[in-house]
Amino acid sequence: MPVSQDREWAQALVKHGDEVAFRCLYRSHTPRLYQFVLRVMGGVEMDAEDVVQETWVRAVTHLERFRWQSAFSTWLTGIGLNLCRERFRRRQRRRGKDLEAVPDLRAVHSHPGVAIDLEQAIALLPDGYRTVLVLHDVEGFTHLEIARQLEISVGTSKSQLFNARKLIRSILRGHRSDKEGIHEPSKRRRVE
């Protein structure tokens, strides 16, 4: 969507609370925002929809302060990402789950007949790893940009990406090996 069109709708929204202008903005930007949030939230649709709704509420509340120095979509994505992280922190407090806790791969690999794709593998990552991986490998952010957005060091961003990639490979490799019959079930049972 051209920036000028976004701006025109945004101005109508700020000045007049124009619902039509909001719907135009919403329909133009929500599919991309939703896919991003859904991926960062690990594929939980209900959580992702809540975050998208909250993102729009926050965006419309603060739209007057937006200076148009970046694309509207980038600004919106930043708000969405911030809300995802707030949810992670709440979840962590509630369940005591570590943002970098590694999933139990034995459970993941215990269903050799079930194929697992990249999207599912990303969803299985710990929240912290997944966030950095999605920002870097899917959205194309640099480590410097990620570091600024997540308020972490560049080194931390790099090491989280390294760990995330290693884990993704481990998840996918386990399934691929099972499906290709590289590890025969009987031998695996003996080893286990």
């Binding site: 929500t30 709704q53 509420v57 490979r169």
Partner: protein, 186 residues
């Protein structure tokens, strides 16, 4: 496996990442839920369902759409018919008489189609870049007109589909920017 190998995706893995979906429609109720929430927060004003009882506003919007469509269509065809229509629509608006404004909408719509037809006829004999520009202007006029129809009736299904289709095309044509992105936090 070395650290370097573990840290870099191979070609097949890179392709798998590139193939991941970049957009997805949320549940159908989310838009209405969000609009309701924004209304509750006092951030949105409900559009007037009885817009036809405020003819000045309704016809003003229609005339503005026709004005824009006529201007852009005239530009794309390379003649001044659109500009003349613009002047006539403005004159009609100033007179405050609504029926002639409606007639002008119809006529400028016909002018738009005629201009597109002329563009198509000249396509074979024109340089491709000029034709591409003409197409772009025609699409911009269509987009602006659909946006104005939505202002008149937010639930008009045809206008909504035109807007969505054009926006989808725009997104597909968009190339990723190398510029550093800035994010603002609240």
């Amino acid at each position: 496996m070395s650290h370097r190998n573990e840290d870099e995706w191979n070609e097949a893995e890179r392709r798998a990442f590139q193939a991941l979906a970049r957009s997805r429609q949320p549940g159908v109720g989310l838009e209405e839920k969000t609009v309701r929430r924004l209304r509750e927060e006092g951030l949105l004003r409900r559009p007037r369902a009885n817009w036809w009882r405020r003819p000045a506003l309704a016809w003003g919007s229609a005339a503005a759409a026709a004005l824009l469509a006529a201007f852009l269509a005239g530009f794309s065809a390379g003649h001044y018919q659109g500009a003349q229509s613009t002047v006539q629509v403005l004159a009609t608006l100033q007179q405050g008489d609504l029926m002639p404004a409606a007639a002008r909408v119809q006529q400028t719509g016909s002018d738009y189609i005629a201009a597109l037809n002329a563009l198509r006829m000249q396509a074979d004999s024109s340089p491709p870049e000029q034709f591409a520009q003409g197409r772009e202007v025609a699409a911009a006029a269509l987009y602006a007109a659909a946006a104005e129809v939505i202002r008149l009736d937010p639930n008009d299904p045809l206008a909504v589909r035109i807007l969505q289709g054009l926006e989808m095309q725009q997104q597909q044509n968009r190339k990723p920017s190398n510029q550093e992105r800035k994010v603002f936090w609240f």
